[in-house]
Structure formats: structure tokens, C-alpha cells
């Protein structure tokens, strides 16, 4: 009786084990992101521009409960992935004035931003270099505008940078505030987008030799 039960039990275990072995070893994700990631990795420009976000340093957060830290880290990861994708997209789209981080340019004569991300995070040096080179390319182009148009562009870039400072200050007090993180990243993105857009307009309307 016991022997028979054991045999039945063994047979059952074997069946379960066989069924378990037959299960797939991996599960393919619903949306395969790897081709896009691989493409980004293969692109040195995208790579160099994505890197600054990978270098964001997360300061130790002593005194916070584990779940808050986990949420903070999760939010940071979302920001980093989103941010690097945005910056990469901004940099690689519309190739005529693509960013070349290694190149040395004169800085745009505007108030710089720190690259800080509240008290917790810091945008990496490569991001700042890419941003600086974009600013200096724009600086050279702005010379070709009328003084009024140039002043208008500079005033508005300064306005975005003032917003960055403003958000950065309140984010220092509330480092885990997802809205502030979102808005700050958006302001950085707006600044780059504005520089690229103005650069694009000036390039397209002044590519002729007549100005």
C-alpha cells in the first residue's frame, strides 16, 4: 500500500518535473525594445549623449524608509531613461547641426545652469559638454541675426534657464517630488529643443550666401 503510494507519488513528481522542464526557459517581452537599444549603442553620438544621464549620481539617502528610497530610485530610472532618450533624439534628429561633444566652442554668453538635478542628482559632464557645444553653435549663428532678434532669443533662453533654476531650488527641498523632476527634465529638454530649433531656423533661412 505504502509502496504503491510512493510509486504513485514518485510518478506524479516525475510528471511535474517533466512538465516543469518542458516550460520555456525565458519569456519574450510583449514589446521588444532591444533593437532600438542596440541601435543606440551602435551609434557613438547617441552613446556619448546618453552617457551623461547614465552618470547621474544618486546620493545616499540616509534616514528614509526603504520604500521611499525604492520609489526615488525608480523615479530616477524613469527620468534617466526618458531623459537620455529625449536628449539622444534631440541630438540625432535633423542631422545638419548635429552635436559634436568633443569639439571645443566658445560658451554662449548667457547665464549657465548648474546641471544639478535637485539635491540628489547631477547631470553628467558629457551632457553639459553636449549642451555647451550646442549653445556655442547657436551663439555663432546668433551673430547673424539682427540685434533685436538676437535679444529676443537670448531673453527666452534666459527665461527657460531661470525656470530650471527655479525648479532646481524647490527640488532641493523636495527631491522625491515626481512632478518637479518631470518639469525639470522637461525644462532641460525645452532649452535644448529651443537652441536646436533656433539654430535650425537660422541655418535654413541663412544657408544662402546673401546675408
Amino acid at each position: 500500500m505504502n509502496e504503491s503510494d510512493d510509486r504513485n507519488s514518485d510518478a506524479g513528481d516525475d510528471a511535474v518535473m517533466a512538465a516543469a522542464r518542458a516550460l520555456p526557459k525565458g519569456i519574450a517581452p510583449g514589446r521588444d525594445l532591444w533593437p532600438a537599444i542596440a541601435e543606440s549603442l551602435a551609434d557613438p553620438l547617441a552613446d556619448s549623449l546618453a552617457e551623461p544621464f547614465a552618470e547621474v549620481a544618486i546620493a545616499p539617502q540616509t534616514g528614509l524608509p526603504y520604500w521611499q528610497r525604492a520609489l526615488g530610485v525608480a523615479a530616477a530610472v524613469v527620468l534617466l531613461v526618458g531623459g537620455s532618450s529625449t536628449i539622444t533624439w534631440l541630438a540625432v534628429s535633423g542631422g545638419e547641426s548635429a552635436v559634436v561633444p568633443q569639439q571645443v566652442f566658445e560658451p554662449l554668453q548667457l547665464q549657465p545652469v548648474s546641471g544639478s538635478f535637485g539635491a540628489e542628482y547631477e547631470l553628467g559632464p558629457d551632457f553639459m559638454a553636449a549642451r555647451g557645444s550646442l549653445a556655442s553653435q547657436l551663439d555663432a549663428k546668433l551673430d547673424r541675426l539682427s540685434p533685436q532678434a538676437r535679444a529676443e532669443v537670448e531673453k527666452n533662453i534666459a527665461e527657460i534657464r531661470a525656470s530650471i533654476h527655479q525648479i532646481d531650488r524647490v527640488l532641493a527641498d523636495e527631491p522625491d517630488n515626481a512632478l518637479l523632476q518631470e518639469l525639470l527634465l522637461s525644462a532641460y529638454r525645452d532649452e535644448l529643443r529651443l537652441m536646436r530649433r533656433v539654430d535650425g531656423i537660422i541655418t535654413s533661412v541663412m544657408r544662402r550666401e546673401d546675408i
Binding site: A149, N156, S163, R208
Partner: protein, 295 residues
């Protein structure tokens, strides 16, 4: 006496100078009915009008320091370009009226030009630094970029994809439909009387007024740092609302009131569903106030 002679001589030299007078232009070229007309003019104005002929007709007045008007056709593209020398004088302002086949696509670029486009059914791509843009939109895509120029678009609620960017210029869009992506830094945005499946709007300090219909399964994303927002939905609305502001106020005539996000911070958030919630409305501000309502 010598002074008088010198003055008279100087006047004669100026009067006889070949670049002292503006030049009228009146030229025509056959063009495909659905081709592209590319127009470049540094300063002055460009008025583009669609017509039923398969012909591009350019009239206007070239500035006295303009080198030449290049007007040629290369396959599907008809090119109109006002050329000036690199070190030309300031008198380069050129006013052009250009008739194009009404199903053409047009590209217009300039630095300080006002641009007006009407009765053109094809896609439009327009960029200017300081001039204003005024256009009529049909079913084709439109993409306008300015720095300080204002953008005014009028439509007839035919579906199109609209992309508008300014730095400090104001943007005013009426009676359009479809998808719109609109942004400025300090310019104000007005989107009125439209029927939208997708609205994406972004300003730094510019205010925004949105008044229109959101189609089922539509999406509205609005973000501003310091600008105030007035959002007014017309017609039947079914949407999930997700609103958050760090330091602004929220007035909501749908019913639910915004709640504080924290006891220690000024932020407010408002989440609710209207109807079956097939569409989605997301609004984010830092300091901007929001007024949300429906008819």
C-alpha cells in the same frame, strides 16, 4: 558756392546710381498641379495664393539692393528665390505675391518677412525669424516655426497634422481639427473651436487658452512652467483627467476639487473621470493657474 556745387554733384551721383531704384517683377512658369513651390525671401513680405491654373505667377517689387530673382523649375519643384549679395545694402526688402496651383505644397522661408498663405491645399512648411505668419489650412499638414513672429492659422475643421513653434511670438489657431503640437517659450497660445484627436502643448511662461472638442480616444497633454491655462471643452466629453500643479491654483467646474499633494508643500492634484473615460487629459504646471470647464 563750392558747398553748393559739391552737394549738387553728390545728388547727381546718388540719382544716377543703378541700385537706387526698386524693380517691378512679373514672371510666370508652368508648374505641376501637385508639385512643390519653394520660396525664399530675406526681408519684406510673401503672399501665396492658390489658383486653378497649373502655373506659378510671381509679381511684386524687388528691393533696390536685390541682386536677382531666381525663378526656375526643377522637375516637381518650382523655386522662387530672392538673391542678394553678401554685403548688399539694407534695401533688400522685397514684396512678392505668388500664385501657385492650389494643390501645391509650399515651403516658405525668410528672416524678416511677413508670410500670408491662402487657398493652398497642399502641405505647408514655413519658417521666419521675426515676421508674422498668417495661413489658411485645409487637410494637409502644416509646420510653422518663428522666433518672434506671431502665427495665425484658420481652418475649416478638416483633419490635418499641425505643428507650430514660436519662441516669443503668439500663436492663434482656429477651426482646425486632427492633431496639433504647439509650443512657445513666452508667447501666448490660443487654440479655439477645433475638433482634436490629439493636443500637445508646452510653454514656459506663455499663457494658453484651449477651447474645443476632444474626440473619443483622444489625448490632451499640456505642460507649462509659469503660464496660466484656461481649458474649455465643447461637445460630448469622455475622458480621464490627471492634473497636477506644484504652486498653481485649480478651478474645476466638472465638480471634483483639487487636493493637496502634501501637508508640507503647496502642490495640488486632481484626478477624475468624465463619462466612460475613453480619452485622456494630462496637465502639469509649476506655478501656472488652471481653469478647467465644459459647456
Amino acid at each position: 558756392m563750392n558747398l553748393l556745387k559739391s552737394t549738387a554733384l553728390a545728388c547727381m551721383v546718388v540719382a544716377c546710381s543703378p541700385s537706387a531704384t526698386a524693380e517691378d517683377v512679373d514672371r510666370r512658369l508652368d508648374a505641376p498641379a501637385t508639385g512643390t513651390v519653394s520660396i525664399e525671401n530675406t526681408a519684406g513680405s510673401v503672399t501665396v495664393k492658390g489658383w486653378s491654373r497649373s502655373e506659378v505667377h510671381v509679381t511684386g517689387e524687388l528691393g533696390s539692393d536685390v541682386d536677382e530673382l531666381e525663378f526656375e523649375r526643377d522637375g516637381n519643384v518650382t523655386k522662387v528665390q530672392v538673391k542678394t549679395r553678401r554685403r548688399s545694402g539694407r534695401a533688400i526688402a522685397t514684396d512678392l505675391v505668388i500664385r501657385v496651383p492650389q494643390n501645391s505644397s509650399v515651403r516658405v522661408g525668410g528672416v524678416s518677412i511677413d508670410i500670408e498663405i491662402s487657398d493652398v491645399r497642399g502641405a505647408q512648411r514655413v519658417s521666419t525669424v521675426s515676421g508674422d505668419v498668417d495661413s489658411e489650412v485645409f487637410e494637409a499638414d502644416i509646420d510653422v516655426e518663428t522666433v518672434s513672429g506671431d502665427i495665425d492659422l484658420r481652418g475649416n475643421k478638416k483633419v490635418s497634422r499641425v505643428q507650430l513653434n514660436s519662441v516669443s511670438g503668439d500663436i492663434d489657431v482656429r477651426d482646425l481639427a486632427g492633431e496639433i503640437e504647439i509650443s512657445s517659450v513666452s508667447g501666448d497660445l490660443v487654440v479655439a473651436d477645433g475638433r482634436w484627436s490629439r493636443v500637445s502643448a508646452n510653454t514656459t511662461s506663455g499663457d494658453m487658452d484651449f477651447e474645443g472638442e476632444l474626440l473619443p480616444n483622444g489625448r490632451v497633454d499640456v505642460e507649462t512652467i509659469n503660464g496660466d491655462l484656461e481649458v474649455f471643452f465643447k461637445g460630448k466629453l469622455s475622458a480621464e483627467f490627471d492634473i497636477e500643479t506644484f504652486n498653481g491654483t485649480v478651478k474645476n467646474c466638472f465638480g471634483p476639487k483639487a487636493e493637496r499633494t502634501s501637508r508640507y508643500a503647496p502642490g495640488r492634484e486632481l484626478r477624475f473621470t468624465e463619462g466612460d473615460g475613453s480619452s485622456r487629459v494630462t496637465i502639469r504646471t509649476l506655478n501656472g493657474d488652471l481653469s478647467l470647464c465644459k459647456d
